[in-house]
């Protein structure tokens, strides 16, 4: 089992969610985060211009069995991209074990 963590643009979230469902990755969690990166956003507030690299993104955590890993990553790489600075990042790591609390199943049965 692998954990795929993806930081993506909020504007790409619906597209990504749809594409993940299409490859039958139906379970994942997400939350909104503020990050610091290379992209700078320009603002004007009451006549004062400022720019900030503190930008809003959406953070997805997807735990998949090994045979789902490649297509999951590919979907993210394809659908979350705009080609501009600030498209985000993907991290993949090993997951030691997974449990489904209701049935007490573990392993792949616990995540699908």
């Amino acid at each position: 089992m692998k954990k795929v963590e993806a930081i993506i643009r909020k504007s790409k979230f619906d597209e990504v969610k749809k594409a993940l469902h299409q490859i039958e990755v139906n379970f994942f969690s997400y939350w909104d985060v503020t990050g610091v990166g290379n992209e700078k956003q320009g603002h004007v507030y009451r006549g004062i211009s400022y720019s900030t690299s503190d930008i809003q993104r959406r953070y997805l955590v997807i735990v998949v069995s090994d045979d789902f890993l490649e297509k999951t990553v590919n979907v993210l790489l394809d659908t979350a991209s705009t080609g501009n600075v600030g498209d985000g990042k993907i991290f993949v790591s090993d997951v030691m074990e997974a449990y489904r609390i209701r049935t007490k199943e573990s392993g792949s049965a616990g995540i699908n």
């Binding site: 603002h43 004007v44 507030y45 009451r46 006549g47 004062i48 211009s49 400022y50």
Partner: protein, 426 residues
């Protein structure tokens, strides 16, 4: 017999007209009362979320304290008699006395009370985010008990004792009497309290964006609505010519607000390359403050001209005060109420159909308007300085650095206004 009947009819008509006037003043006062909600939301929206509860408390308490104090003392001073200091102060209370009691004049007390509360609440926004709550309460109480009623007595009783009234000064609903007084007090308070931490870094103004533009916008809509009572109600009567007068005042008010918003929009759009939300909202308020003095003495074109000028001047003034004078006014209260209150009062000297320079006037009105408005500004500034200076030397004006950085809500009031979740450790 016929004469007697006619007399009875005349008397009845007079009574009905009087009652309609009282009804209109009461309804208008209810609208003005609701402006407190507008001020609260505007101030909350234009500042940081960590000070929300503090702003709520300031706005609730200046209305609450103002209502009691103006009933007890303020009205009696404002409408009193026996002048001292060459018309500066009325040493004897009004007929209704201290602790206002009247057989038939309650609507006037209510109308004047909510005006007084408006003047008080203007200060709150300019010193948001760093002022001690207890200090604010004391200052607000002095403003509603003494500062506002004393200068109000110079004009609004409309009697021979009111020196600005006899001089021919015109301020229909209070661009100077209410708004410039509040704005001048706000200016002095913002200077003495000092800027918020982080507002000026190496002498350069930094943006501290407000946390909720929706609150800011709702606040402006509520104020705009309430202003129809503020200005329209200042006709102080309803029926016949007074109905026409009050409704034309309402149209002038709406036109000035509309053109103020439009002017601020295009001015900032050209200047910053973006259609600026908070400045456009300020532009509408600037038009409202500006037309408040002249809404009964200009026509629609005059109202548009005053609103337009105020909508542009408010943007320039906000930037000048913020960047050049380095006075931190998070909501633009000094510019909206002080600068545009002064400007709107003076512009009557140009646009008044009776006595305005553009309508064949001699310039005398322009001169009276100018020194009259300045009298209000100087009085409010000096009186506020004395009170705030004493407070600064005694209980202090500011919260500690730690309290300011972590937010007034948690330190002054013990709760956050937007808690993530509620849990308790026993």
């Amino acid at each position: 017999m016929i004469i007697q009947e006619q007399e009875a009819i005349d008397k009845a008509v007079e009574a009905i007209t009087g009652d309609m006037g009282a009804l209109w003043i009461t309804l208008a006062a209810i609208l003005v009362f609701f402006m407190q909600a507008g001020f609260t939301l505007l101030e909350i929206g234009f500042t940081r979320s960590k000070n929300t509860g503090n702003i709520i408390m300031k706005n609730v308490m200046d209305l609450a304290a103002g209502s009691v104090l103006f009933w007890a003392v303020g009205y009696a001073i404002m409408y009193g008699s026996d002048l001292v200091g060459g018309g500066f102060f009325r040493s004897s209370p009004s007929d209704q006395g201290y602790f206002f009691f009247s057989a038939d004049d309650w609507h006037n007390l209510f109308f004047q009370t909510v005006f007084c509360a408006t003047a008080a609440t203007i200060v709150s926004g300019a010193i948001a985010g760093r002022t001690k709550f207890s200090t604010y309460l004391i200052f607000s109480a002095v403003l509603t008990t003494l500062i506002y009623p004393i200068s109000g007595s110079w004009y609004w009783p409309f009697d021979d004792d009111a020196w600005l009234n006899t001089a021919g000064f015109v301020d229909f609903a209070g661009s100077s009497v209410v708004h410039a007084v509040g704005g001048a007090a706000a200016l002095v308070a913002a200077i003495l309290v000092g800027p918020r931490i982080g507002k000026y870094v190496d002498g350069k103004a930094q943006a501290i964006p407000g946390h909720n533009m929706a609150f800011g916008a709702l606040g402006v809509f509520i104020l705009w609505l309430g202003w129809f009572g503020f200005n329209g109600g200042s006709q102080l009567a309803w029926g016949g010519d007074d109905t026409i007068g009050a409704t034309s005042v309402i149209i002038n008010t709406n036109l000035a607000a509309a053109i103020g918003a439009i002017a601020a929009l295009f001015f900032t759009w050209a200047r910053y390359g973006r259609a600026d939300i908070s400045m456009t909202l300020n532009g509408a308020l600037a038009g409202l403050v500006g037309i408040t003095a002249g809404c009964g003495s200009v026509n629609a074109w005059g109202a548009l001209a005053i609103g337009l000028l105020c909508g542009i001047v408010v943007v320039i003034s906000i930037e000048f005060i913020d960047k050049k004078l380095k006075i931190d006014d998070p909501v633009g209260a000094i510019s909206v109420h002080g600068v545009c209150g002064f400007l709107g009062t003076v512009l009557i000297g140009l646009f008044a159909l009776d006595g305005g320079l553009f309508y064949g006037g001699s310039g005398k009105l322009l001169w009276v308007q100018t020194y009259g408005s300045l009298a209000y500004i100087v009085w409010a500034a000096v009186a506020s300085f004395i009170v705030l200076f004493i407070l600064k030397k005694t209980i202090g004006l500011r919260v500690s650095e730690k309290e300011e950085v972590e937010g007034l809500d948690i330190h002054e009031h013990g709760v956050e206004s937007y808690p993530e979740h509620i849990s308790q450790d026993k």
